[in-house]
């Protein structure tokens, strides 16, 4: 048997420790709960503008124009979306959303694919070859990082219009392709390909094009996917450049179209604007969420 007092002291110590542990547990639970609450609030706040537009797009124009700001779905969803899709805004622009969506899609795809294509080729040249002017070429590309298209927008417009490319896909897309981010990402990735792999391919008799096709391209798929998401979103969301370069409805993009749809507010068919907004943000949001894994990786790595 233990001594009485010692046993008591020990029991007290144990009880104290248990109480402290319980307090810590409670505190942790409370903190977790609080964390969830704040995050849910944040998410809700983030989603609120979208929610309002999503709900508004299912009501008739009078409800929205009266300023009722519906927070629950109404009965006009099919009608509004169908009207927007086939007709656009009846009182203002009258360009069907489907046509503008197609333009946006073509632009986003061509920008993404074009930029990836020219970047992967030039990065391959810069990393895997040694030739006079290599450094110069690299810097010529690298320096484009310094000036986003918005900064040089008017001079670029001048050049494009001199070339007669206003209101063409070519004029819309090519200037947006001239940028270094994708080239730098590929270069970064190519530098991590072990030298031995290139040597093994040389031993196996693969020339540079064969090595590119059989090894570099398959190994780059993750990077290509990541860049695709970023560039598709970038292309889809262009505003200033298309605003300048497109004056005809034939090449008008959805992002421009929405703003034009609002026009003079007295006439605005807000419910169709809302439906169009939902349609306009659906493709890039879908691409980001569906390809989230590559997208996050790509984003963080492009900016390194």
């Amino acid at each position: 048997m233990m001594h009485g007092p010692v046993a008591t002291i020990r029991a007290e110590a144990i009880a104290r420790a248990e109480a402290a542990a319980e307090r810590a547990d409670t505190a942790r639970r409370r903190a977790d709960w609080l964390t969830h609450a704040v995050l849910i609030l944040g998410v809700a706040l983030f989603a609120l503008p979208i929610w309002i537009v999503l709900m508004g797009s299912t009501h008739d124009v009078a409800t929205v124009s009266r300023g009722e700001v519906p927070l629950l779905p109404g009965p006009y969803a099919v009608e509004n979306y169908a009207a927007a899709w086939t007709e656009g805004s009846a009182r203002t622009t009258r360009v069907p959303v489907s046509a503008m969506m197609l333009n946006s899609f073509v632009m986003a795809m061509l920008i993404a694919v074009g930029k990836i294509a020219i970047s992967i080729l030039s990065a391959y040249a810069v990393v895997f070859f040694s030739f006079p002017g290599r450094l110069l070429a690299f810097w010529a590309i690298f320096i484009t990082l310094m000036l986003p298209v918005e900064v040089r927008i008017f001079p670029t417009f001048q050049v494009v219009s001199d070339l007669g490319l206003v209101n063409t896909y070519t004029g819309l897309i090519l200037p947006l392709i001239a940028s270094a981010t994708a080239t730098l990402l590929f270069r970064q990735f190519f530098l991590t390909i072990p030298d031995e792999l290139v040597e093994a391919a040389k031993m196996d008799g693969a020339g540079p094009l064969r090595f590119f096709k059989d090894v570099v391209l398959p190994l780059s798929t993750t990077n290509i996917a990541a860049l695709f998401v970023i560039l598709f979103v970038y292309g889809w969301n262009q505003y200033l450049w298309p605003l300048l370069i497109t004056t005809s409805a034939d090449v008008e993009t959805i992002v421009i179209g929405i703003v034009k749809m609002i026009g003079a507010e007295a006439d605005t068919e807000w419910n169709r604007v809302m439906a169009t907004t939902v349609l306009a943000l659906l493709p890039p949001v879908a691409v980001v969420i569906l390809m989230q894994r590559w997208f996050v990786k790509g984003l963080v790595e492009t900016e390194k």
Binding site: V69, V127, F154, D195, L240, I258
Partner: protein, 293 residues
Amino acid sequence: MRKKVIFPQVGLPYLLLLPQLAITFVFFFLPAGQAIWFSFLRQDAFGIRTEFVGLENFVELFQDPLYLDSVWITLVFSFWVTALAMSVALGLAVLADRHIRGATAYKTLLIWPYAIAPAVAAVLWIFIFHPQIGLLGKFLNGIGVRWDYKLNGTQALITVIVASAWKQVSYNFLFFLAGLQSIPRSVLEAAAIDGASPARRFWTVVFPLLSPTTFFLLVINLTYAFFDTFGVIDALTKGGPAKATSTLIYRAYIDGRVNLDLGSSSAQSVVLMLAVIALTAVQFRFIERKVHY
């Protein structure tokens, strides 16, 4: 850095570089060079005669009180967009980084605004801020606050700041979260064993370790606020009322597109270029420093 293993072919690399170099030359160097050249020229009213005027376009620009207003508006606007977008994102990232259940779900729910175009974001916020059909705008007018961002310059600025910051939060959130997750657990545990309280741990350990990310985001957010917010402003306020939201990029657009003032708009382009180059230079210096970490 470069590889030691290379292919010996001589012509091929030029062929591979050709598309990008051609596009870069035609749509980057040519316009940038022209902008610089035109910024020293002035056309007469009929666009017939062009004369070299040296720095006169720049002098005129910086003597124009409206232009200086634009500079000030741009600074105020950029400061608030950056401060809002970064602080909210940091707060959310710190919470999401706590090892709670559903952290990935929150991440998914917070990143999608990245995909929304600035102009579309602006349209979304119309339905919050519009004095008649907007949730908040209508409410404010209902309780007696006179709210109309189309008439009140301050309110217009608040509106474009909130809409611009909203869109940028998810981008910042992603980077802050990545930065937080790259902080080694052991460092935090060591701080906890040293007895630092959670708040103290954050300000003395986490925040300093996060400073590369913070600094990087600072530059990115400023660049975003300078240029990418054109769509927000054009869709919400068109630079108004009374030029209250006319930032430098918006003004450059109006002068070039509407006023067709080639010399002045070129000079404005050059000023913007210098601003970006300065920002980028700061960023590069920082990247250099990062190497020493």
